[in-house]
Amino acid sequence: MSLFDKYAPLQKRIDVMNKIGRDALGVQFDDIIDATRGRIGNREILLAGTNNYLGLTFDADCMAAAKQAVDDHGTGTTGSRVANGSYREHVDLEVALADHLGMPSCIVFTTGYQTNLAAISGLAGDKDVIFMDADAHACIIDGTRLTNASTIRFRHNSPEDLDKRLRRQGKIEGGHALVVIEGMYSMFGDIAPIDEFIDVTHRHGGYLYIDEAHSYGVFGPTGCGIAEEQGVLDKVDFISGTFSKSLASVGGFCASRHREFDVTRKVMRPYMFTASATPANICAARVAVDKIKAGGHLRDNLKARAQQLHKGLSDLGYDLCAEPSPVIAARRPNEAICAMEWNWLLDNGLYVNLAVPPGTPQSSSLLRISLSAAHSEADVNEIIAKFAELKGLEGQLMEDMMGKLAG
């Protein structure tokens, strides 16, 4: 018996993937040329799976701010904000995000993953009960595991089901309900009815926490996210987000309408015991906040591209998981076919995400596309054309795959 024997079923899946083609979870790009183009070997790749929703990673002002930050403050912070202190820019960014969201309190974290890990574990105590949407991201699940609070899952995007489970739980002695949902869900691109969740949560005396990682910058008149889009931002208790999507950097934030949220800085282990975000990351994100506030034109283009792609793939007969949004996922019959198609797309110059269980809802195998405001109409036509070609090759690809699997 070896320590690794437990991974035998996983290794079997990996072996099948490798027989079919590349390791989809280990792609290496030789160059990232701009927000929508990369290079593998001599082939230029159209990037349609990077969550670079506003395309700001190559924005001249964001890049200049990152370069200036290195010149001014060096490359790294070498420790946590608790141990080494905060840089002025960490605090400035917190103030800017709080101001954008119209909330009195905001804390910045080193990655998006750590944001939910830290904030959820800081907010939920032993006697509180967390109610979590069934399709919540891994970092929310892991955040609940860092607490001693009980965690109950409710059916995806169903305020009625949440209401039922809150009623079933009854009075929470000495604690509160913390309801955790997302604005736009990362795999299917579907959107939460936040107004209804606010109503149910507050009726039961609970607090609503929304992860807007995929929706901050993308939705709402000023880019605050789905809660702003639905006109209920001022009623949400906590909004978290990441810098690694619309904000074109690495890091994350959690803001609250409760000023007392600030006290959690002294208890959140993923905040206290990790190095703070680098000056370059913080300064790029700070400029990106202003770009987002004034980014109505970027959101308009992103919306138009989403509608264009959704219609194009629907017309081809692809089974899409949700209404048009910057995330468009096509459901495929199984993991092997999905992997084979994903390989063909990459071999033909298009990068999308291969998404498979347990990282997907309903054990789905998906070809997942994330669009960018930097994509042009011609780019999206190219994506549609590749998917059209793929559709025509189904029989031949299946035959090739069977040959590879038999070999």
Binding site: P9, A134, R145, S150, T151, I152, R153, R168, P358, S363
Partner: protein, 81 residues
């Protein structure tokens, strides 16, 4: 109140869609290790059981449950409380 055997039958019935290869199920079967039900699917299965028996089965309790028999016993305990 449902008997242990009734609950076992219900668990086996609800496990079916998550066991496409129809592996034999017993009380000793490891839900993840033997039946290879993925971690998210286990939680989906539990949501169905919560609704059927009108009980709350918190995720931290599910994490500690490894076998079909342990799941059955946990539900029996919750329904008898």
């Amino acid at each position: 109140m449902a008997s242990n055997n009734d609950i076992y039958s219900k668990v086996c019935e609800l496990l079916k869609p998550y066991n496409p290869e129809s592996r034999p199920i017993s009380r000793q079967s490891g839900i993840v290790s033997d039946l290879e039900v993925d971690s998210v699917a286990v939680f989906d299965l539990v949501m169905g059981l919560e609704d059927h028996y009108d009980v709350s089965i918190p995720m931290e309790m599910v994490t500690d449950i490894k076998t079909v028999g342990e799941l059955v016993n946990a539900i029996q305990q919750l329904t008898s409380e």
